[in-house]
Amino acid sequence: MIWMVLLFPLLGALLNGFLLPRRSKLLSHGVAVAAVAGAFACACCVFLEFFATRHSHLYFGFNWLQAGKFTAPFELVVDQLSGLMILIITGIGTLIHIYAGGYMKEEVTTYRFFAYLNLFVFMMLLLVLGNNLLVMFVGWEGVGLCSYLLIGYWFQEEANAKAGMKAFLVNRIGDIGFLIGIFLTYKHFGTVSFSELSSWMNLMPTLAEPYPKALFWITLSFFIGACGKSAQLPLYVWLPDAMAGPTPVSALIHAATMVTAGIFMMTRLSFFFYAAPDTMLIVACVGALTALFAATIALVQTDIKKVLAYSTVSQLGYMVLACGVGAFDAGVFHLLTHACFKALLFLGAGSVIFAMHHEQDMRRMGGLRKHLPITHGVMLVGVLAIIGVPGFSGFFSKDEILWKAFIFPTYGPILWGIGFLAAGCTAFYMVRLLCLTFYGTPYQDKSAHHHHHPHETPWYMWGPLVVLALLSIGVGYLGVPDFLAHLVGGHNLFAHYLEGLIYIPASAQGAWGHLHAEHAHELEWGLMLSSVALVTLAAGTAVFCYTNRPVRGVASFLGGHFPRLHQLLLDKYRVDECYQRKIVTPLAEISTFLWQVVDVRVINGCVNWVGYLLMGTSGIASFRMTGSLHRYGFWVLAGTVCVLIISCF
Amino acid sequence: MMQLPVLDETAVQIIATIVKFLVVLVGVLHIPPVMIWVERRVPALMQRRRGPNRVGFFKWRLWGLLQTLADAVKLIFKEESVPGSAYKGFFHLAPLIGLLPTLLFVSAIPFGPAIEIGGWKIPLSVIELDIGLLFILAVTGVGVYGVTLAGWASNGKFSLLGSLRASAQMISYEIPLGLSLIPLVLIYGSLNLQQLILAQSSVWKWGIFLSPISFLIFLICMFAETNRAPFDLSEGESELVAGFHTEYGSAKFALFFLGEYVAMFALSCLCSVLFFGGWQIPFVAHEQLVSLTGSVNIAALCGVMALLLKAAFFMWLYVWVRWTLPRFRYDQLMKIGWKFLLPLGLANVCVTALVLAALA
């Protein structure tokens, strides 16, 4: 069954990519949806099978890579984490596939799109199912490849191709971290299998040198990998650009699944991370900073997808923060909820864009509520979920993270504070998005003579949205924090579910004692209420600023009084430019220098110089070579005569 | 027969050689008139017309034989003209250079068995050589110079082209010619022409029967070597006016004529010698003939007659073929020489050698 989960999308990709006739869009769409839906069905079976026993199970495929002592079998594992992930991937994947059929209706090469998309699902499944680092890495880079292909799906535009390339390359930087992590792991542990590593860590009561140090480097390396894939500072730059791809892609890859791979990986290796507190601090800081950083950028963006993209970066920051403070379960839970509501938001935004004929600038929207009622409704749910309105899924997950951050012994309150601010920003920009898009007066395009009225999308596009909206509300209740759950006599189902997987290795128990320590519920209540208050405040401000009026208020205030700050935010802190100026351009100049000067002049020059030297020498030696046949003949014969004369004596 | 004691062997031979040479020279000089007559009368016969038959004394017209004589006289006494641009020396020399090898060729042919005069055995060839065949080949090779020089010295387009063609042709066909002779040498085991003749003691040992392919090749080469139809490209009148002797007139032209007919004669003789038993009369052994006639000399004379008859047949064949076959194209000519005759000749040599080795 587990193989079927993998096989379906692969088959779908192959069929769409190589085998099927390419004319029929319906066929390619049907095949793609069937492949993912089939995979989803199988994934459900697999999950249920696992859920019944709660015992992780290994599936050996074949002996993939073997050299020296190194072995990396193609082996899959189904446990709490991967079971959940395959559900997310195939489930949300199915919805998005269905939706994509409508969204990509006008495309000619839909087969290509669906082939990539199915391939992506396959790779993502491989990533989450692999039982060793190497198989995971296959999926890890595989999804990067699909992301590259899908971002550059509209390759006719140079910018899209460049964005795809940027995504791939920035990811590759992270991948190198991942690779080095693998090397280090193999060096110190002699294996790359999760199960073996896990049991090794589990059995070690204490870690002597060199392990602590090694673990620091190992986890740091892996974290670099995670930074790349999960768009953390400083490697987040690819994700906003990745919005160049079709919106379903953004929903599936750049919101719901692929970008969370870093969190997934860190959770997989939680036993390592727990054992490396120094790294954890770095992780937490990076996560928190990313959350705030991206959120501030999102405040002023005008492109609807860009806002969502930065929002994604910010939310990923939350997840990483969760990992960093040791709350992997909270991180994964946020992953789950985020997958639902961010996919929802993206698809909703996609519907808007679709309805607006590929207009993405929010300033040119407005008042769409009347035209797109369903979309509006689901978007509203999504926004409420993401900003953490109580009762919606985001509330539970985000709150858990903030709480865990707060109790983190090192700089805990500061981390909480950053997260808290970010939550406020989130509320502001998401509501801003909603207001600009759906409320207020419609934008009057003076120049457009044939204004099309936006229409609600067909059922197979809004259908998935509705499902996702329901999920965005519903999944939150899986992970109600303990102190709330206790009110109704339950407990955090999700954390409980993951308990078997995420454990603190024996050697690191001391450092993470606070996670299990009893804390005052009042504090927790207080924090929760304060964040609710902040969210309300921010949302209210946004509503005040952006509804039914020309853009003003905070935004215009900011723009008016702090123009440079506003500009800085608009320019996304000019990080891209900085990278371009400080890294890419110098590197290109160095390359040119190496080529034009070092290679052509110096090295090749030396080689040629030897040749010229020889040529010159031969020139000196050949001055008697007059080229006259007669002279040569004369000397030959004269020599002969001389020899004869001499020999006669 | 009376001994002449004052003469020793060498002197006799020298005198005999001079005499023989003179005889051959005189004999050879008579060939062209006769041949010209033949060349006029035979086609006339073939074409059912009369040909030149008017010239004569009174009623004796001698079937037109005298026409030739008249022509000869005319040729010799005609005014000579030398082209202004010609290389004079070679222009004058060329006909002689052309004639000389053919005369040498004829000199090497044994016209009959040795005769006895005054107890001296005198062979009936001007030069008796152990390597007669090689000598003939060598002389044939040198024969090209006449043509070549004539064409070149005339310093005219047609002449040059004609001579280039002629000499290329002659060189090309010399090779199959030589190759065709090798089987005979292998079979009879000698290069001496007299020995070769003697080895063909009976009709069935004639070269034509022992090595028919050689004969075929030789026959073709014979025509080519003498630039006769169908290989007369070098003087193809429709293309090159008259080829290498375009610029020649009067006596020098006559010399060329002479050279050509002597060459024809020599090759006919060689053909008879090599393939038809030379001076041997078919079915009559030489000893029988000697005993029959009672004199070596008369028998030898009969032999000479036999050889001349055989040669006459080939001379006639020349004429016959000339009036029967059209001319080849130049590339065809070369193709036949290099792509057909040469491989055939080589194969012939190999096969003969193998057969001989097998028999031995």
Binding site: L637, I645 | I131, L134, L137, V142, T148, L164
Partner: protein, 171 residues
């Protein structure tokens, strides 16, 4: 002693003709004189009892090689005005050379006693047969190799003399 006189006679012809070869301006004349030299040498061979050699000398040299020369001269149509000057370098060379040559001959002449005594009547009776036997027994392999060589030369000369495939100097 007739042979000796004959020898001198032909030797004189050979030397004079060969001088003509190198001195005459007209290449055709030179070629003709070369033929004369060769024939004279062939006569010398006969005098030396090498009839076979004489025959092939005429057959190959005169009948083939010099014909080739003549051919080429005619084909390139080299008028006598165009060619035949002496090389500029020649005077010194010739002088030195002739002196050297004379010296060598002189010395050679003086040291003649070192030569092995001749075998009287040494030439075999059936010269051709002997040569043939030597060629096909003792010298069989060299002979075969030589045939290969001549085949190569044949092909090579065809290839070299073909119409040029390289661009001419002006192009």
């Amino acid at each position: 002693m007739v042979e000796v006189w004959f020898f001198y006679f032909f030797a004189a012809i050979a030397v004079v003709a060969s001088l003509g070869v190198i001195l005459l301006r007209n290449p055709v004349a030179a070629a003709m004189l070369l033929v004369v030299t060769l024939c004279a040498l062939a006569a010398e061979y006969v005098l030396l009892g090498a009839e076979f050699s004489a025959a092939i000398q005429v057959l190959v040299y005169a009948g083939a090689i010099v014909i080739l020369f003549t051919f080429v001269i005619m084909m390139l149509n080299l008028g006598q005005e165009e060619v035949g000057q002496l090389a500029g370098f020649s005077k010194w060379a010739l002088l030195l050379f002739m002196l050297g040559g004379a010296g060598v001959i002189l010395i050679q002449r003086l040291s003649m006693g070192a030569l092995p005594p001749g075998v009287p009547g040494g030439a075999a009776s059936d010269n051709t047969y002997e040569v043939g036997m030597a060629l096909f027994t003792k010298y069989l392999w060299p002979f075969e190799l030589a045939s290969l060589l001549i085949l190569l030369a044949l092909i090579a000369s065809v290839v070299i003399a073909r119409k040029p495939t390289f661009p001419s100097r002006d192009a």
